[in-house]
Amino acid sequence: MTDRPVSEGREASTDPPSAPAPTPRGLSRRTFLTGAGTVAAGGVAAGGILEGRADAGPRRAGGARRVEGLVEVTLTINGKKRKAMVEPRTTLLSTLRHHLAEPLTGTKEVCDRGNCGACTVMVDGRPVYSCLQLAVRCEGHEITTVEGLGSPEAQSDVQEAFAACDGQMCGFCTPGFVVSTTACLERHPGVDRETIRRELSGNLCRCGTYPHVFEAAERARDARAKKEGGR
């Protein structure tokens, strides 16, 4: 990390320097509160929830569910329930890529802080950056990754359109673009080029594939319209 000077020679940390402040914002990323009592939990935090321990599980304190250390989460990913042992600060991105028994590596890590969209997945049908989601907050939600949209043998219409239009070069941004395009077409069935550009503006590509990505989105849109019209 280079976002803070290293005056005392220590790599800059994203953790707050002192004990947690009495607001959720001030919580350490390593201890996170989930469940119904999030607001109340702020008060609990002030009462002294501290750094996570490697072997601790979820506990209840003051009506809030406190998670710290290593906890088991059950996530619904691509329609299947999957269990993982994660820390409260583990992102959904890291969970997908590193902490499942069978890792899902289609979702890519590029910036790991919400700039590039390579880690885009759908949560309950909405596109989100999985690097900005904590896995413990995703229990009970439907998570769809690029692998859940189709397979090489049976691509989704959007995936087929990307292949046909050369909507990928190196392909590292492609999973994120495929998910964002899928979400875009769900929200805007008759989408125009301007809206496509806006809806895909949260994803970055370095090879310069954008013109072909836009064509792919329009091809998938037209194929759907034709299918609808044919009914």
């Binding site: 990390m1 280079t2 976002d3 000077p5 005392e8 020679g9 220590r10 790599e11 800059a12 583990t90 902490h99 890792p103 899902l104 590596t105 289609g106 979702t107 890519k108 590029v110 910036c111 790991d112 802080r113 700039n115 390579a118 990754t145 690029v146 692998e147 189709g150 090489p152 043998e153 691509q155 995936q159 087929e160 990307f162 292949a163 046909a164 050369d166 909507g167 990928q168 070069m169 190196c170 392909g171 590292f172 492609t174 999973p175 495929v178 550009r197 806006r198 895909l200 503006s201 994803n203 970055l204 590509c205 370095r206 090879c207 310069g208 594939t209 954008y210 013109p211 072909h212 836009f214």
Partner: protein, 721 residues
């Protein structure tokens, strides 16, 4: 189609091609669209550990303290090692900033352990800018002086007198920032060292060559190391060697005897994984009353950090006999520049195209015509033709500002058009081999260790034999990205296609002719010729007319296996240089300084466009890359402390969907070379120059510094004469 058994492989005529010279969806697209393509980042092996580097954030510092004990005690930590010692100096910001490495069971644990590495630095004055390096009292950052003069100036007096006698003259300072490659997949590797050898997964542009580098670092014979790069998330010139990260991963693997996953994170990538050198050019250039160049002089500083930097020299691709610019390197305490898509050319393009554009308006010749007047020879004819194409496509004819810049409308908007020319060398070099194997079950495997950076190499490794054997692309199984295959070449300078495609063609040709000899023997006749088309094989006398698979069944237990090298195929490679032209149309908001590119068009000669779809993707990529360079990208360092201020994508901006206008990528079908070459470098050369010139054409604001940020546009508007 019946053909003679030529002594050498030949590309089919355009009219006879059935697979190549068409839009071929890339064969690995379904793996990429569904997230199944496995990149180095994605490699997961049993018992694998995650390594992470610890970097200092400033150059030119001495390590006063280094304490690894706390890190060693962190949960999940397997190993912590020092890469520098107390008392040692950090010379430059880059891989020299690596102080230590940590290894843990999970990436999160490795991150925590990295944060727990304690060190204290005593820093000296940073020397991270050109001005700091040129200060007479500046410390010597390289030990060889901060300035290293290159060629020139020649005939200084003559040039000066020519300039003074010129009808029109411009004098200015033109600058370009340091740019980053920003490969979406960061640099790194996974090293799996076992008792019987090692498999290294690496994101690399040199699969065959890197296997030997890793073997050396692991203390193994080259034959014991297999390097795998099935897919890679971009290279752009930055991924040639294993790097310090590769060396450290090898040391860890040797020590732990466990598979090691070591990839840089994004801030580390910006700090130590390469860049395109910056440029500071103080130039004076003159032309006669007709806009023909008379003389050029000045000083060009290449800003390549510890490296020499790149700059192609002036007048770049234009003609001017009397050029005496001094080109020198000015060193700073930053990591050395690396090759990046057409090294030096985008810089040379900007300086030359901008200064020439200024003369175009001073002389009244206009920006379209002045380019035509200052190119020459056969190359010049091609560029003039290219200029006509892009001018037509961008709407130059109907555009009002032919020889004078326009003015803003009542709302403050102004629209302009600008041009730029592209070049690079065509062709390839020796080193690659390809094997084509045809088995009795009808399977065809085409193998070459070449890497596919996203260029589409894997697809033509299949498509070329498919064309030769009358098959569809999916009938041929391509195998690439694995050092155990016949060697490939490194992918640098757009040489891959020119070096590999001819070899694939030659191997496919050898396989077909060997197959024909076997078929002749089978039917017991000599002198037959065969037609391979639509998945069928027919003999010239009609005695054989079978499906490809049935023909393969006649091979019995001995498959066809033919290997070719560059000797067999070099006549199939294009020679000479590449040419292209680009035009951009922009809208300048003269109230805010914001520039929006409305339209962009490029034409590029490509030899035989093996895969027209992939070629258009490459041309688009060049336009997008130079648009991004022109409008957004800039490495920024804090001159007080030497900190890198653009260490992730929220501060180092690259173009996104909203910056991308309609773009047209035109393949030059009048290229008379019926031979193959790569072409990606050329497409990234002139786009930012065309955009800068379009800004002037719109409103008279001359941008002499890249990127064209709103503040610079407003400043240029205020300085209009």
């Amino acid at each position: 189609m019946s053909r003679q058994d030529d002594a050498r492989a030949q590309w089919r005529a355009r009219a006879d091609m059935r697979v190549l010279d068409r839009d071929i969806p890339r064969v690995d697209a379904p793996l990429k669209t569904t997230g199944r393509a496995r990149y180095t980042h994605d490699v997961r092996l049993p018992n694998m550990v995650y390594a992470r580097l610890v970097l200092a954030a400033v150059p030119r510092a001495e390590i006063e303290e280094l304490d690894l004990e706390e890190a060693r005690g962190m949960p999940g930590v397997v190993l912590v090692g020092a890469d520098k010692e107390i008392g040692e100096s950090l010379v430059y910001l880059g891989d020299d900033s690596v102080i230590a490495h940590v290894v843990a069971e999970t990436p999160e644990q490795a991150k925590d352990a990295a944060r727990a590495v304690r060190f204290a630095l005593r820093s000296k004055s940073p020397v991270v800018t050109r001005e700091q390096a040129l200060d007479p009292d500046a410390p010597d950052v390289t030990g060889r002086g901060n300035v290293r003069a290159g060629r020139g100036p020649r005939d200084a007096e003559k040039v000066q007198s020519l300039l003074e006698g010129s009808a029109h003259r411009v004098k200015g300072t033109y600058t370009l920032p340091i740019q980053h490659h920003v490969c979406l997949e960061t640099h790194g590797c996974v090293v799996d060292l076992r008792d019987d050898g090692a498999t290294v997964y690496a994101s690399t542009q040199v699969v065959s060559g890197n296997a030997g580098d890793f073997a050396q670092m692991l203390g193994l014979e080259a034959s014991k190391v297999r390097l795998v790069c099935e897919h890679m998330g971009g290279g752009f010139g930055s991924k040639f060697g294993p790097g310090l990260e590769g060396a450290i991963a090898c040391r860890i693997a040797v020590e732990l005897k466990r598979p090691v996953h070591l990839m840089l994170d994004r801030p580390q990538e910006f700090q130590m994984a390469g860049n395109r050198s910056g440029t500071h050019a103080e130039i004076e250039m003159g032309c006669d009353a007709n806009g023909v160049l008379t003389a050029i002089t000045g000083t060009v500083d290449r800003l390549g950090g510890m490296g020499g930097g790149s700059f192609p020299g002036l007048p770049y691709i234009y003609e001017c006999e009397n050029s005496s610019a001094l080109v020198r390197s000015v060193h700073t305490a930053l990591d050395a520049n690396r090759a990046m898509r057409a090294p030096g050319h985008p810089q040379g393009s900007f300086v030359m195209e901008t200064a020439l554009d200024e003369l175009a308006y001073l002389s009244g010749v206009g920006p379209f015509e002045i380019r035509k007047r200052n190119v020459s020879g056969e190359d010049g004819e091609i560029w003039r033709r290219h200029l006509d194409v892009v001018a037509r496509e961008i709407g130059w004819e109907a555009h009002p500002n032919k020889t004078k810049p326009g003015e803003a409308d009542r709302d403050g908007f102004a629209i302009g058009i600008g041009f730029g020319l592209a070049t690079w060398r065509a062709g390839g070099f020796p080193g690659a081999e390809c094997n084509v194997r045809i088995s009795n079950d009808g399977s065809v495997v085409s193998s070459c260790a070449v890497q596919d950076l996203g260029t589409g190499a894997r697809t033509y490794v299949a498509a070329i034999p498919a064309e030769e054997l009358g098959l569809a692309v999916h009938d041929v199984q391509p195998r690439v990205g694995d050092s155990s295959l016949p060697p490939g070449v490194g992918s640098g300078g757009s040489v891959t296609t020119g070096s590999v495609a001819p070899v694939v063609k030659a191997a496919a040709y050898k396989a077909r002719t060997a197959f024909e000899r076997r078929l002749s023997e089978s039917v017991g006749k000599e002198g037959l010729t065969f037609d391979w088309n639509g998945g069928r094989v027919r003999s010239s006398d009609g005695s054989l007319d079978v499906s490809f698979r049935e023909a393969c069944a006649m091979l019995g237990s001995t498959p066809i296996s033919e290997t070719a090298n560059y000797q067999d195929g070099q006549h199939l490679t294009a020679r000479g240089r590449l040419h292209g032209a680009q035009a951009a149309k922009v809208r300048v908001d003269t109230l805010t300084g914001r520039v929006e590119v409305l339209d962009m068009v490029a034409i590029q000669d490509t030899g035989i466009p093996l895969n027209r779809l992939a070629v258009r993707s490459q041309i688009n990529g060049g336009m997008v890359g130079s648009l991004s360079y022109g409008l957004l990208e800039e490495r920024v360092l804090d001159p007080e402390l030497g900190l890198l201020l653009t260490g992730n994508l929220e501060t180092y901006k690259i173009a996104g969907a909203r910056e991308i206008p309609p773009m047209r990528a035109i393949v030059d079908d009048e290229d008379e070379r019926w031979a193959v070459t790569g072409m990606a470098e050329a497409t990234g050369v002139p786009g930012h120059s065309a955009i800068g010139n379009a800004i002037y054409n719109a409103c008279g604001a001359r941008l002499r510094s890249v990127p064209f940020t709103p503040d610079r546009v407003l400043q240029a508007l205020a300085q209009r004469s």
